[in-house]
Structures are given as structure tokens and as C-alpha cells.
Subunit: 386 residues, 2 copies
């Protein structure tokens, strides 16, 4: 049959910069990035800021104004939009609407920039608004949590929740640059400091045994908020995530999602707990569950399994939750597994461990083993370890 | 300064099929396409149909049901969504919302398909809804107008209007396949039959002198609704558009937009006339204006300029409009030119002709020449030609 064939590739490139004090006038990283593009066009930059960050850093807005008073390659829109931090900003579409309205009000065009400063939730929402405004305005991410600096902020996905469903609306849209400023991390509360570490453990477990060894050696330093250790953890974790994205299937046209190790149960728990449990906290429990399951199903040695659990507990993570337990074959978790199977279109693909640093995909989970794994974890508590 | 570099390419591929009677049970093109993907997943297909098409083809829905009763590689969602045809469907977000709701209600996942049957307006809206639902559901386009079969439906853009601004929200998102069924064209009214021909003239003028010669020879056949001539015109025009997209900058990261020949004034006229003037009609007038301007500014010979105008008039196009005239240096058109300059970020880039088949970019337009060109066109009427 007669047809025309279309085929082309699109190249995506961006850098993730690491710094401390991005908006100090003497810090040229951002200014250099913005000066790089030569353009006859008058470009603007518009900032959207996480309310939690604005509160913890009351001087931030005036720093930004000073910065752009000195560095003038692009024109700062003096009005900045402060939006709620946390999952709330993805749950209520009015925040998305505000960004889109600002694009219209301040005349932000495709030569201009929308910069978002905040946690993964704010970055996800703003990234989505930027991606669909004028079919894509250049988006700069300035992540301010551990999770967003080592995972969500350096990747290619954005989104908001809709119909009470996580990331129901969103796109794959790489940023033009990411700036990880470690000074933001000082003001994180304990939960948010810890939370993002689980993504580093996740990626180490499926891809890089050396990195896991390193985490193991630095567990106490990390727990005590040692910034040098955290900076190295974020760098290595971000690097592994970025290599994975570039190497495989950046826009996820297939159905394999190896980076979702520990995530099938984590996503369910986030929902069931009405987001009381943070993403990273849920992932820690999900990792624990799939690790012990890997052991009980004969894939992973008991010693390696114990190492993983010990690291999680020493960092202060809970390793399980009542909603993650299976009792007498019954659990919302098993329903979650079925939903996930449906979501994948009928065939389950779940990542387990065959060794530390080595993932293995399986297509079935055994309910009895899940029940046993849950009970094993319920018996391992912070107290018992000491 | 320390940084991580990200760089990857994403490949996009799709076919544009040409057929007559896509949903006749014996026609295997669509069924073959859907069977191609081997997947353990139970895939669904959900149809959104242009109300104008549903009305002109009252048997369409039962044909589709019969088709999928025989061809069972994917499961038809029996409920189909009928949406308003024309610009209306892009102006009011409730239509977009309906598609997104259907994704949720019928459980359309990333393995499934959303097929849109309709003119360019319906395809633009549904394509946008598909692109952002679950970060992109596979989208099949079945264009039913000349314009959508030879231009909008075979490209990579989608969008809806917002804040009363054309395509304010949208993405670059290629379809997985396009099916051009010529039988739909029989029910087009005279304006919509003619309207899309201007896009073929546009692309011929900037890229392919032979194609323009061919159009010139077939002007009468096209005006008399000869389907063989129209099928060839659509094929050649689609091919040129597709080659252009693949060859240059598919997602328009730069600011050069050569395919927008004749469009700067056309866009303005569509708005000023409140979309009373169709896109293709406005483009015909925009082509006429920029052609005569090319002549008056010494780029194009008077003979070639006359050939273009003759083709447009013989096809039944109006070649100008009161709103496109400049009088004593005053015109909404000049304001439109300024807006366009701003939209491009300060520097104007406009395509003119240096010969038939050869475009030339310029960065300034002369108001006095635009005034003269408008007056030249106002004096060329259908009557005078005969
Ligand atoms: N796009 C992706 O690829 C991807 C990947 C993983 C997770 N995510 C998403 O990321 C979100 C979670 O992001 P998160 O863990 O960064 O948390 P978060 O964005 O929800 O923020 C948590 C809290 O920390 C506050 N905060 C942020 N930075 C601060 C700072 N420097 N000092 C003080 N307070 C600060 C926020 O105001 C908020 O109250 C979830 O919605 C998750 O789905 C996205
Ligand atoms: N995405 C792109 O790259 C791109 C390019 C060019 C134009 N466009 C957009 O396309 C839109 C115009 O599309 P269009 O010219 O196809 O017109 P249209 O979609 O606005 O449809 C015009 C009318 O024709 C009716 N109709 C459609 N098919 C019919 C059929 N087979 N029989 C009878 N009636 C039928 C519709 O119901 C509508 O009333 C504009 O919004 C324009 O901006 C998009
Ligand atoms: Zn995660
Ligand atoms: Zn056009």
C-alpha cells in the first residue's frame, strides 16, 4: 500500500551544574549559561519559587534581583510567583494555571526562560506548565531537596496529579539546564534530608555495587548531615540516573522501567497514606520489601539482604508500614500489584535483585512470599538493630 | 566548574498511509498497522470524531464497530466521543477536558491508542490531549480535510487556543500513524475543499518549482473537484512538508520557520476576522501579499508574480481583504508585523520569494511597499481576470 515514511531524530542536551550560592553576585555559573546563547531577541527570565524555600530563605528574592542587576544577558521579570510546596502544588490545577497565566501576562516567549526553584513537586508542576506553554518554553530547574537534586530534577519527566491520580497529566521534556545548589539543603527538615537518600540506594542496588559500598561506609555521616558526604552522594546518584536515561529509552516508549526498583509498592503506599508518607520514605520501604523478597525467592544472599536493611535502618528510615503488610493473603498491596499489572497493559514487569549492584526483571510476584517478606521486615526495627 | 553533561537523541518514526474507505471491513491497512506491535498488553483504541464529519458520514460509527468486530488486534472502546468541528473545538477547553476524562473513564493507557477523525482543528485538540495524558498516549490521526491531509495532520504540532491566543497551549508530539482517506473529502463544502490547496501552493513556491508548474496545469481540475488531481496534490504536498520537518528542526528550537511563507499576515487576518476567514483562505491572501511584495521589492519577476496570482484567482480564492490593506501608512496589518517581531523576540524573519520554487528570508518589511502591494491586489479581481 502506498505510504510516506517519516523518520527523524531530535537531540536533547543539557548540563547539570553543582555549586554553592548560585545567586551570589560573584558566582558566574548561571550568568555564563545565560550568556552562551547569542540571540538578537530580548530574552526574559521568570522565576517560580516553592513557598517552603521562600520561607526558609527570606533573602532569596532580593538576591535574585541583585544578581540580575549585575548580570544582564537576560531581563529578569521582577514579579516572581510563589507557589505552595509539596504534593499540594501538583494536586490543585490552580497552581499550574497561575504559571500559564504568568506566561501570558509577562509575555514569556520561546526565547525566554521559566526557572523553577523548589522541591520535586514544584519542579514537576512548573516543568509541565513550561512544556505546554507556546509548545515549550526553555525551562531551568533549581532543585532544593535531596530527592530533586539527585533524581527528579535532573531527569526528563514532569507532571501534575489529576482525577486524584499521580502524574496523570505531564510530558517528557528535558530542561535546558539544572543548577544544584547545596546551600539549599541546609534548611531541609530531617525527613526531607533523609528521604531522597533512598533514590541513591535504589540506583546503587540495581546498577553500581561500588556506590552501594560507599553509601554503606558513609551511612553515619549522611545520617549526621555531613554536607561533603551528601554532595558526593547526590553527584554519583545524579550521574547514574542521567546515564541510565541517555542509554536506554529516555521517553519510555517501551514498558521496561528498571529505575522503578522498589517503586511499585511505594507508589501504592503514598496513595494509601494520602501522601503522609513521603515519596523517598515510601521508596525506602519498597526497596526493603523487594530486597527481602529477592532473598526469600532465592535470588539474593541473606547477608546482602541484611546489608541493605541495615543501611536503611541506620539512616533512620522505617522499613515497613502497616499498609504494606499482607495478612492471610489479604492486603491493599496485592490490589496495588494488580493495578500495576493493568497499568502495564496486562503483563507485570518488576525489578528485583540478583546481587547488590545487579537488577533482574521478573514477571510474577508470589503473594505468600510477599506476606513473609512483610513479616520479616515488621520484626526488624531500629531498636533491634542497636 | 563541575558539571554533568546529558546528551541523547530520540528517534521518531511514523507512516502516512493513503487509502479510500479506511473502515471497509476488507481494507486491511489500519488492521495491519495495529497488529504490527506485538504486546502482551491488552490494547484499546478510543475514537474522537469531528461532529461535522459524523454528520456528513452518518454510517461512520457503525462502520468502525463492524471493522473492529472483524479486526481484533486491539479492543475498540464502544463509546466514541463526538466533538464540535472547526476552531470552536480549540477555543473552549471543555472539549480538551472531555478527552482527558475519557482517558480516565475508559482506562486508556500508554499501550492504547487515541484515534482522532476530523479536520485540523479536531486533530490539534485531540493530539494535545493525547500528548499530555499519562505523558503521551499513542495517537492516530485520520484527517478529513484537504488542509489536514496535506499539512496539519501529517506534521508534529498540536495545540489549543487560550487567553484568546492561537495555539497558546500545545506540544510537539508526532502521531504513531496517519491515515489519509480520500472518501472523506467528497463531503467537504466548497470553502474547505479549496482552503487547503493554498498550503500546497505555499510549499511549492518556496521549495519545488515543478510542483508549482503541475498545480498551474491542474488549476481547473482542482477547481472542479477532480479527485485524482486532488489526491496527487495532497500526496506531493504532504511529502514536501514531511521532508522539510525531517530535514530541518522538527521541534523548532531555532527561530527560522520557512514553512510559514505567507503566514505572518494570514495569522493576523484570521484573528481580525474572528476566524470568519479560514486558515487556508487567509494563507492564500498572505501568499498573494508576499508574492507581490517580492515583486515590488525587486526579488521576483512580474511574470512569475502574475502566475501565482492567476492560480489563486482561478481556484476561486480571494487575494486580499479590507483588513489586509494599508492606507496612508495605517493598518492593523502593520501592528501584526510588530507583534510578530516581538513574538520572534525582537528580530523579524520573513520568507519571501526570489523565484518560483525558491524562498528567501528577509529581516525587514517596508510599510510603503506593503501598502502598494495591497493596492495592486485590490485591483486584481476574479472579474478582471476573465
Ligand atoms: N519527575 C520525576 O522524574 C520525579 C521523580 C521522582 C519523584 N518525583 C516527584 O517529586 C515529588 C517529591 O519531591 P521532593 O521529595 O523534592 O519533595 P517536595 O517537592 O514535595 O517538597 C517537600 C517539602 O520540602 C519543602 N522544601 C523544598 N526545598 C526546601 C528547602 N531547601 N528548605 C526547606 N524546605 C524545602 C517544600 O516546600 C515541601 O514542603 C513527588 O511529587 C514525586 O512524584 C518526580
Ligand atoms: N498542527 C499544525 O501543524 C497545523 C498546521 C496548519 C493548520 N493547523 C490548524 O488547523 C485548523 C484548521 O483545520 P481545517 O482547515 O482542517 O479545518 P477545521 O478542522 O477547522 O474544519 C472546518 C470544518 O469542516 C468540517 N469538516 C471536517 N472534515 C469534513 C468532511 N470530511 N466533510 C464535511 N465537513 C468536514 C468541520 O466539522 C469544520 O466545521 C486551524 O486550527 C489551524 O490552526 C494546524
Ligand atoms: Zn522515585
Ligand atoms: Zn498553514
Amino acid at each position: 500500500m502506498e505510504h510516506l515514511q517519516q523518520s527523524f531524530t531530535v537531540k536533547f542536551e543539557y548540563n547539570v551544574f553543582f555549586t554553592a550560592g548560585l545567586f551570589e553576585v560573584g558566582n558566574n555559573i548561571l550568568a555564563n549559561f545565560l550568556s552562551q546563547t547569542k540571540s538578537a531577541a530580548q530574552r526574559k527570565i521568570f522565576f517560580v519559587i516553592d513557598a517552603g524555600v521562600a520561607e526558609a530563605h527570606p533573602q532569596l528574592r532580593s538576591q535574585i534581583k541583585n544578581y540580575f542587576a549585575t548580570h544582564t544577558a537576560v531581563k529578569l521579570v521582577p514579579e516572581m510567583l510563589i507557589v505552595a510546596g509539596g504534593e499540594e502544588v501538583k494536586n490543585d490545577t490552580q497552581h499550574f494555571d497561575q504559571v500559564v497565566e504568568a506566561v501570558n501576562t509577562y509575555g514569556i516567549d520561546r526565547h525566554s526562560y521559566i526557572a523553577a526553584i523548589g522541591g520535586g513537586s514544584v519542579l514537576d508542576m512548573v516543568g509541565y506548565a513550561a512544556a505546554v506553554s507556546h509548545r515549550g518554553i526553555k525551562h531551568i530547574r533549581i532543585p532544593t531537596t535531596v530527592l530533586s537534586q539527585n533524581d527528579s530534577g535532573i531527569g526528563v519527566k514532569n507532571g501534575i496529579n489529576y482525577f486524584n491520580k499521580k502524574n496523570f497529566l505531564g510530558t517528557f521534556a528535558p530542561p535546558v539546564a539544572v543548577f544544584n545548589d547545596e546551600l539549599f539543603l541546609h534548611t531541609l527538615n530531617e525527613r526531607d534530608w533523609r528521604s531522597g537518600i533512598s533514590e541513591a540506594i535504589k540506583v546503587a542496588l540495581i546498577k553500581d555495587a561500588n556506590f552501594f559500598d560507599w553509601i554503606e561506609e558513609h551511612t553515619t555521616a549522611l545520617a549526621q548531615r555531613d554536607m561533603m558526604a551528601m554532595a558526593e552522594l547526590i553527584w554519583r546518584c545524579a550521574k547514574l540516573h542521567m546515564e541510565h536515561i541517555a542509554g536506554a529509552d529516555p521517553f519510555e516508549s517501551g514498558s521496561s522501567r528498571p529505575l522503578d526498583f522498589g517503586h511499585w509498592s511505594a507508589h501504592k503506599l503514598e496513595y494509601l497514606s494520602n501522601f503522609e508518607v513521603r515519596h523517598g520514605e515510601a521508596v525506602a520501604m519498597g526497596i526493603a520489601l523487594d530486597t527481602v523478597y529477592s532473598q526469600l525467592s532465592g535470588r539474593l544472599t541473606p547477608t546482602d539482604s541484611q546489608r541493605v536493611i541495615d543501611v536503611l535502618i541506620t539512616l533512620g528510615f522505617e522499613v515497613t508500614h502497616p499498609l504494606m503488610q499482607v495478612n492471610e493473603g489479604k492486603s491493599p498491596l496485592l490490589a496495588g500489584l494488580e493495578e500495576f499489572r493493568e497499568h502495564l497493559g496486562g503483563q507485570l514487569t518488576i525489578m528485583l535483585l540478583s546481587a547488590i549492584g545487579m537488577g533482574e526483571e521478573v514477571h510474577e510476584m508470589d503473594a505468600a512470599l510477599l506476606e513473609e517478606a512483610g513479616h520479616v521486615l515488621a520484626n526488624k526495627t531500629h531498636q533491634q538493630l542497636q
